[in-house]
């Protein structure tokens, strides 16, 4: 592409070819908004990115074009469906098991640390939360 005023030659630079995700981001969300005399409700257009997630028939197609963000969106993932409730129960029971294990380790740890450095005890207290969060992240 050449531009009046001399666009730099980028063939040797790292400018990546435009992929569809990048193009959509710009033509749908950027670009000058002009209200034409045929009104297409702009709100509809802005909602398009949301709608897109719902109408994509094939996840594979979407991944090919580089769109997979709905997979990370808790709202669209419908956290309340049966599958997730099951998963939630699974997590709860796993969490209970882990807490018992932690309690046992803490007992061990305290004995161990009585002769060692005391500030490690703080970490033991933080462990519960940390572990739980990590587990949940991994599951996603």
């Amino acid at each position: 592409m050449s531009v009046n005023g001399g666009l730099p030659d980028v063939s040797g630079s790292s400018g990546a070819p435009a992929n569809l995700g990048d193009i959509l981001e710009r033509v749908l969300d950027k670009g000058l908004v002009i209200a034409g005399d045929i009104r297409v409700n702009l709100l509809d257009i802005e909602l398009l990115t949301v709608k897109l997630r719902l109408v994509v028939a094939s996840l594979e197609t979407a991944r090919e074009v580089g769109i997979d963000w709905w997979e990370r969106d808790p709202w669209l993932q419908g956290r309340e469906d049966d599958h997730d409730r099951d998963r939630g129960r699974e997590l709860e029971s796993e969490n209970r098991r882990l807490r018992r294990r932690v309690a046992a380790l803490e007992a061990d740890g305290r004995r161990e640390l009585e002769s060692g450095s005391a500030d490690d005890l703080d970490d033991l207290d933080e462990f519960d939360e940390d572990e739980e969060r990590d587990r949940q992240e991994k599951r996603r």
């Binding site: 592409m1 009046n4 990546a16 002009i34 034409g36 297409v40 509809d44 161990e112 991994k138």
Partner: protein, 260 residues
């Protein structure tokens, strides 16, 4: 509305000063023409109402394949305009019923469009994205703690602590790197816009998006900007990607019109 089979409406692509030089095809495969008024040229196409008018277009927008085709075609026309000179890209699906309405717009807003084009003369939009490692990856890469303990429980906890500290260190290092990079790029550009991080940009295997910026750069100063992109190697798991050249989508601002 008329129900005529060949009814058309006008799809607007861009506002610029010069009409298309070569034949350019638009979203419907139609030849793109210029609607000229007040020293301005609007790139426009006559597209069938049955596919691109209301309400058909709204339905079609929900088909990813249709949208992909329209987006690419729209972008291609805008790029053709950019190749001729300063161009204000118009958002996808801007429709008019006749040439007169477009002319009226150009006439009423001539000075605003001209001012906006003046800001874009000799400048190009570049995109810069920075990706960091996924949290799990960073954790796996955490170095083994130097501390050892004879009890497996305690040593496990120490490892966990080391992993957490390492993770926090990586996040901090990546954030600082991104802040420095953005400041440097801003210094080498005439305008910048930060796009959303949670938008339609995260891609499989690319890690966590840390920066998604658009920078309007003087063409004459692109080499310096490019150097600034590559100036500093960030933490090992941070990846910087330059995209472009882009038509100035992120800087298509016309006072008065854009305030709506």
């Amino acid at each position: 509305m008329t129900g005529a089979r060949d009814a058309t409406c006008i799809w607007l692509y861009a506002v610029t000063r010069d009409p298309p030089e070569d034949e350019v095809r638009g979203v419907a495969g139609e030849p793109v023409r210029a609607i000229r008024e007040a020293g301005l040229a609007a790139y426009a196409g006559d597209v069938p109402t049955s596919e691109f008018g209301e309400p058909a277009v709204r339905r079609n927008l929900e088909s990813l394949d249709w949208l992909a085709g329209a987006a690419r075609a729209h972008d291609a026309v805008v790029r053709a305009a950019v190749a001729r000179g300063a161009t204000i890209p118009v958002r996808l699906v801007t429709l008019f019923s006749d040439d007169g309405s477009v002319r009226e717009l150009l006439r009423d807003r001539a000075s605003d469009f001209e001012a906006a084009l003046g800001r874009l003369d000799g400048r190009t939009e570049w995109g810069v994205k920075v990706y960091g490692a996924e949290p799990e990856q960073a954790e796996e890469q955490a170095p083994a703690s130097g501390e050892t303990a004879s009890n497996p429980g305690t040593s496990y906890l120490l490892r966990r602590r080391a992993a957490r500290i390492e993770r926090e260190r990586r996040v901090r290092a990546a954030t600082e790197h991104v802040d420095r990079l953005h400041a440097r790029l801003t210094a080498h550009s005439v305008a910048e816009r930060l796009h959303g991080l949670g938008g339609a940009v995260a891609r499989e295997g690319e890690g966590t998006l840390l920066l998604n910026g658009a920078y309007l750069v003087e063409n004459k100063r692109f080499a310096e900007f490019n150097d600034a992109v590559n100036a500093e190697r960030g933490p090992g798991d941070v990846r910087v990607q330059l995209t472009g050249p882009w038509p100035p989508y992120s800087f298509a601002y016309v006072p008065g019109l854009s305030d709506v």
